[in-house]
């Protein structure tokens, strides 16, 4: 490592229509670390992840992953094709895990993993297949490679989603509330897979409400509210002893809903 963080975002500003959803978000994620984003509904967590992945185009701000960087403010001047190319290139640096998995329903677990490497990246099918099988085993789905998504439980689907994000060999994996659509019982298996990945050195940015996961796995926790990062720091500090009143109130409500 050369001291520079693997992923860096600076000054992200994004509006939908009249409403400004991100008001200058900065983020630095060193290689091999886990950053957890927490914050109330509508605070912009999903939007941040989507900007990192260029699924959303911010009005201003810079995102760099490894040595690919995009200056979003400058994009519009580059022309449609060049802008698209830049975004696609950035997108290839990260994998994304959605809350509602969004697996391709008409393809088996294995085929879901192969779309990226084989169809898009054009890697040899046999090689990609071997790697995909390893990934499925890693998320605990050995033997289920031919199942369709509809034949898998929610937790299994989400784990296929994680494997699919890894299959494109991203530098960073982005998770958007990967467990919040799951039955409580199935949450554990997904979090376990994520912890294993983190321990294996995968760089991750995770939006989640699983505070215990953040405490145990995160190197850094960021609290987002109203489109700005209100507080950031080690998990132990932000969660156990938040400096800001807003953070404290949010955590209290989360831990004791009633």
């Amino acid at each position: 490592m050369d001291g520079k963080p693997l992923l860096e975002a600076a000054g992200l500003v994004k509006s939908f229509g009249e409403t400004r959803v991100l008001r200058g978000v900065d983020l630095a994620v060193p290689a091999g670390t886990v950053s957890v984003l927490i914050g109330p509904s509508g605070s912009g967590k999903t939007t941040v992840l989507r900007c990192l992945n260029a699924l959303e185009r911010p009005e201003a701000g810079l995102v760099r992953i490894g040595d690919v960087s995009v200056d979003f403010a400058a994009l519009p001047q580059q022309g449609r094709r060049a802008a698209l190319r830049a975004e696609t290139r950035l997108r290839a640096q990260s994998g994304m895990v959605f809350q509602a998995h969004h697996l391709f329903p008409h393809r088996s677990a294995l085929e879901n993993l192969l779309e990226g490497p084989v169809v898009v990246q054009g890697r040899p099918r046999e090689e990609a297949r071997a790697e995909a099988l390893v990934l499925l085993e890693r998320v605990g789905l050995k033997g289920r490679e031919d199942s369709l998504p509809s034949q898998l439980s929610g937790g299994q689907q989400q784990r296929v989603g994680i494997a699919r994000a890894l299959a494109i060999r991203p530098q960073v994996v982005l998770f958007d509330e990967p467990t919040s659509a799951l039955d409580p019982e199935l949450v554990g298996e997904v979090l376990a897979v994520m912890r294993d990945l983190a321990e294996g050195g995968t760089t991750m940015v995770v939006v989640t409400h699983e505070i215990r996961f953040a405490q145990q796995v995160a190197d850094q926790v960021l609290f987002l509210d109203g489109g700005v990062v209100v507080e950031r720091g080690p998990a132990a500090q932000v969660i156990a002893d938040p400096r800001e009143e807003r953070t404290r109130r949010f955590l209290r409500r989360l831990l004791d809903p009633l």
Partner: protein, 219 residues
């Protein structure tokens, strides 16, 4: 009912079916579907000009009788110096027609595929075309099959209009046999039976396809 006439007509009508109706239908439907996909995507385009063109196309095709479309391709284009042979004329007119109707079906089916699928495809690196081909269309197909099968089955019978541009298909054969004796009723009945058999086969294909495409639907 004139049984002797039925017996002697069975074979010529079958010829008309196999050499006229069926290839005409098959070719026009395949080409028409391709047109439909293009037009549907045009109508879904954010570029106003492109979606406007798509809209005009659909409106022109659905808005005028197939017979007139056939007339234009075959009888009016020559006055502009473009003379097209009967078979190509028929196929052009039928595919353009199918394209207009099927475009609406395809558009509505594409719209029914959740946005999440487009985004998931983007995150694994797919562009617009690849996403359509490998992710969206296979899912849109499920909803599109029953109405498209209506379009196809209508087409089978609409090919009888091909006789206006000198293509002889089954219905024309039936008319020709009926003419000297005025037994239109008998011959049309026989043609109806043939059409019906084709439709039963196509419906069976539709059912299997629907079953296949429903397989991966959750709940």
């Amino acid at each position: 009912m004139d049984w002797e006439l039925l017996r002697t007509s069975a074979w010529p009508l079958l010829q008309g079916l196999v050499l006229g109706t069926i290839p005409l239908t098959a070719l026009s439907f395949v080409l028409g579907l391709a047109i439909a996909v293009v037009v549907a995507l045009m109508r879904l385009s954010p570029v106003k000009l492109v979606s406007g063109l798509g809209r005009v196309y659909v409106s022109a095709i659905r808005g005028t009788p197939l017979l007139v479309q056939l007339f234009i391709v075959f009888y009016a284009l020559p006055s502009l110096g473009v003379t097209i042979d009967p078979w190509p004329s028929a196929i052009i007119a039928f595919s353009l027609n199918v394209g207009g109707y099927a475009a609406e079906v395809v558009r509505s089916a594409v719209l029914s595929v959740p946005r999440g699928q487009w985004e998931a495809a983007a995150t694994v690196g797919m562009g617009y075309g690849t996403t359509l081909r490998r992710v969206v269309m296979p899912q849109a197909a499920r909803l599109a099959v029953p109405p498209l099968s209506n379009t196809l089955i209508s087409l089978v019978k609409d090919t009888s209009l091909a006789s206006t541009v000198l293509v002889t298909e089954m219905f024309r054969v039936a008319q020709q046999i009926a003419a000297p004796t005025y037994q239109f009723f008998t011959l049309y009945g026989l043609a109806a039976v043939y059409y019906w058999v084709v439709c039963v086969v196509l419906s069976a294909v539709q059912d299997r396809l629907e079953g296949r495409l429903n397989r991966y639907v959750t709940a």
